[in-house]
Point group: C2
Chain length 127, copies 2
DNA sequence: CCTTGACTTCAAGTAAACTTTATCTTTTAA
DNA sequence: TTAAAAGATAAAGTTTACTTGAAGTCAAGG
């Protein structure tokens, strides 16, 4: 069992953020010691990593809340949770496609700069 | 020359957003008619598409402001602007890598759900 | 003993990027 | 020609996801 300090050191996530995630219901069953201090076990760490992956891929807090709510409901919600993950997978794939699409535009801009610079260079040589 | 309405229809960007971008200095040299109404030409449209690509790839407004400021300075800032684009290109590539990395985790989760469902199915057949 | 440091909670504050509202002027269609 | 629609400005409001501050508790070290 780890303290919140150890978890912040291990994950790089600030303690207030961990408390905020827990308060919002993104981290089910984080335990406390006899004085009310948080204690995290391996399963809590798994949840933290999972929530972090969802956040990093743009899933809003509210949707993760819903997912965790379904998780707490038990096995009857497995298909719905799987569907959420399938939809989110599609969202991520769309994000990747969009990034590639816009990256092309940036590369086009860079190519223009290359042309521009070579023109300037040629002009300079002429002078 | 197009009105703001035609631009919103063409680009899907809301008129208040176009005004906001202009006020923040992201759209240089948008003209006005004799009564102060905005008129957009092809070059303005290019800027709008470019700004949209930068925003869609996560460049903050403040950084685009800086880019446009350099653009207005003239040719002496070409290398700096090119550098900004090169750095942004790296940022986009990093974002894409991160998304792939986290997509793997989601796919792993989905694989777990597949196992779970097949287990449930087998159990049901036994009953 | 008592102070320091690591917790706790709750409420308020922040940042970024829009979006909405209020008020006013100008077109445009009936 | 007049009423509705479209456009302008400035300021305030919204949303999301944290972050910071205030005030209190508790264990450990000097």
């Amino acid at each position: 069992m780890m303290t919140i300090r150890e978890v912040t050191e291990l994950t790089g996530i600030a303690a207030p953020t961990l408390r905020y995630y827990e308060k919002e219901g993104l981290l089910p069953h984080v335990k406390r010691n006899e004085n009310g201090k948080r204690l995290y076990d391996e399963e809590d760490l798994s949840w933290i990593h999972f929530v972090t992956a969802l956040r990093a891929t743009g899933m809003p807090i509210a949707q993760i809340q819903k997912y965790v709510y379904l998780y707490k409901e038990g096995d009857s919600t497995i298909s719905e949770r799987k569907l959420m993950m399938l939809n989110h997978k599609k969202e991520i794939e769309r994000s990747i496609r969009d990034l590639y699409f816009n990256l092309d535009k940036i590369n086009y801009k860079l190519a223009l700069y290359d042309v521009l610079e070579s023109q300037i260079e040629r002009t300079s040589i002429k002078i």
